[in-house]
Amino acid sequence: MAQKAIPLEKLPSQTQRTSRTLRSEALAPYLFLLPFVALFTLFFIVPIIYALYQSLFRSERNGLGLGAATVSFNGLGNYLDVLRDPNFYSSVGRVLLYGIVQVPVMLILSLVLALLLDSALVRFKAFFRVAFFVPFAIPGIIAALLWAFFYQPVFSPIVKGFQALGLPAPDFLGPGTVLWSIANIATWTYAGYNMLIIFAALQAIPSEIYESARVDGCSGWRVAWSIKIPLVAPALILTCIFSIVGTLQLFAEPQVLSAISNNVSTSYTPVLYAYTTAFSNNNYYYAAALSVVLAVITCIFSFSVLRVTQRQAGV
């Protein structure tokens, strides 16, 4: 920036054309960025500020709940309420339990599938790649509707299969199982997508590395464990962070299953709780505070994953 600005003033002998070109070159990045940054500010930054602002108010109705509600400044009162809200804790606890199980299971599955597709063991690679990718082309809400048919005893081919064998059929919508039925939908939808990200990183490893490993007499397992996995660590971190963000945002799947199971409450996940608070209870101010706390929790988790993994990998 400095190198470009100084010659412009110090070189009066430059022709008019050149100085105009230099000036337009200095201005160009701002013009290129303007449309994106304008929309980004309007639909990303302003909503965050607005949510922070809204979260400082509350609406009150008189004792009978009649008449217009009055809006008053509440300071950090909503945040204190969130921190004392058992519904909030149970919803966050639930998605954390879910994430601790679902994210590692899905990512290990994606990694193993990607390593197998990258190995020399397997044939028909193009077929498998497309097959694993099919679920990602199905919108999450449709995937949830689809699996809902597998979970409801009246439709479920799984339940019918168990019954045909004379075995007790599993209850996919029970109080202890419905969370894992949701985890299955998410794993089914995103495992192939994560596999593709890891697979792309594997394909980018230069083949000379394998040749030297082969000269050193490394086995296929050894190559996978000591060369491939460390080299695709950035891709694994990326998929891990996306999965954590996705977990804390869990909404469509529990919303669909709540229509067919009594075990999915209106505060089942944090986003579902914020949605109910805003649109069923019309308490936008409290919902704004819930959103802010949730965003902070998400950022804390993503950044810790980034920090821990970077320290481990020594990047």
Binding site: L33, A120, F133, I141, I260, Y284
Partner: protein
């Protein structure tokens, strides 16, 4: 055309190289184990889709009465399709067009904006560049659903809820696209070429449209696909922004049918076959697009993740 022939042999050559360096494939124990593992998961990934295809050919009563994973004696696909597109005065077709409009316009314009921003961040030195890039990068971690709520309140303040702008405008912002475009532009747009353009007297915008956009094509396809799939599958934002069914995209529309069907009770379940057939119809365009463009997509992801 050139792009295509250039990008296809790359992975193939690499795959050949791997196969060549290994022994000629024989069916030893590890191959069998690996293939079995992959086949089991192929079934896991494909059976629900197979169920969807089978169920779309069934009548309402066969959907309840027959085994889900095989065809019923009566083939009802065409009557189901006719019903889907005529139910409620053909609102399903409307939803399909809405989705196409939101995803099409949103991803094309969004990709162009992301390309400009990413290019500027990669190829120009200016004040605030690093700060801006950090903010954009950090915003990828902000959950979209937490933004949706304040966005709804803002939109309702200016009277834009329940109009297409409520979904279309936020969809144009694609921070992950900017990140990908920056990485791609940094590695595949040579400074010499830009200088040559400047010496030839081309303006900065002309250099962008004639040189940069062409060099960025593989990355742009990736960003476009990401954007398209992201908007097509988006559920939360349109759910809260729209109350008029005529504006719904397909995701919100089908869920509204699902809620109707579940609330109707056991005796009057009349539209489950419509939900199933509608779900199949709505997945097909995306499925075809993804399979055809998978090669492009893979290349773009590679650059994004390895250097990230």
């Amino acid at each position: 055309m050139r792009q295509q022939t250039a990008s296809v042999p790359m992975p193939t050559a690499r795959e050949l190289a791997i196969t060549r360096q290994a022994r000629p494939p024989r069916f030893d124990l590890s191959t069998m184990g690996a293939m079995t593992f992959l086949l089991i998961f192929t079934l896991y990934f494909l059976i629900p889709f197979f169920w969807l295809v089978v169920s779309a050919t069934k009548s309402q009563s066969d959907l309840f009465g027959t085994f889900g994973l095989w065809f019923a004696p009566n083939f009802n696909l065409f009557s189901n399709l006719a019903q889907v597109f005529t139910y409620n005065n053909g609102i399903f077709g409307r939803w399909l067009l809405n989705t196409l409009l939101y995803a099409g316009v949103g991803s094309v314009v969004g990709t162009f904006l992301a390309a400009m921003a990413g290019y500027a961040l990669a190829k120009y030195v200016f004040r605030g560049r690093n700060l801006l890039f950090s903010v954009i990068l950090g915003s990828i971690l902000v959950p979209a659903t937490t933004l949706a709520l304040p966005l709804y309140l803002m939109m309702s303040k200016v009277g834009l809820t329940n109009t297409i702008w409520a979904v279309l405008l936020p969809s144009l912002v694609n921070p992950f696209g900017v990140y990908l475009a920056r990485i791609y532009a940094a590695s595949s747009v040579p400074d010499e070429l830009l200088e040559a353009g400047r010496i030839d007297g081309a303006g900065e915008f002309r250099i962008f449209t004639t040189i940069t956009l062409r060099l960025l094509t593989p990355a742009l396809v990736t960003i476009l696909l990401f954007g398209f799939v992201g908007i097509w599958t988006n559920f939360f934002l349109p759910l809260i922004m729209f109350s008029d069914p005529a504006l719904f995209p397909i995701t919100v529309g089908l869920q509204s049918w699902n809620v109707t069907a579940s609330n109707a009770g056991a005796n009057t379940q009349t539209i489950y076959n419509l939900i199933v057939t509608g779900a199949l119809v709505s997945s097909i365009p995306l499925l075809i697009g993804c399979i055809i463009l998978q090669r492009f997509w893979r290349g773009g992801l590679g650059a994004g993740s390895v250097k990230g």
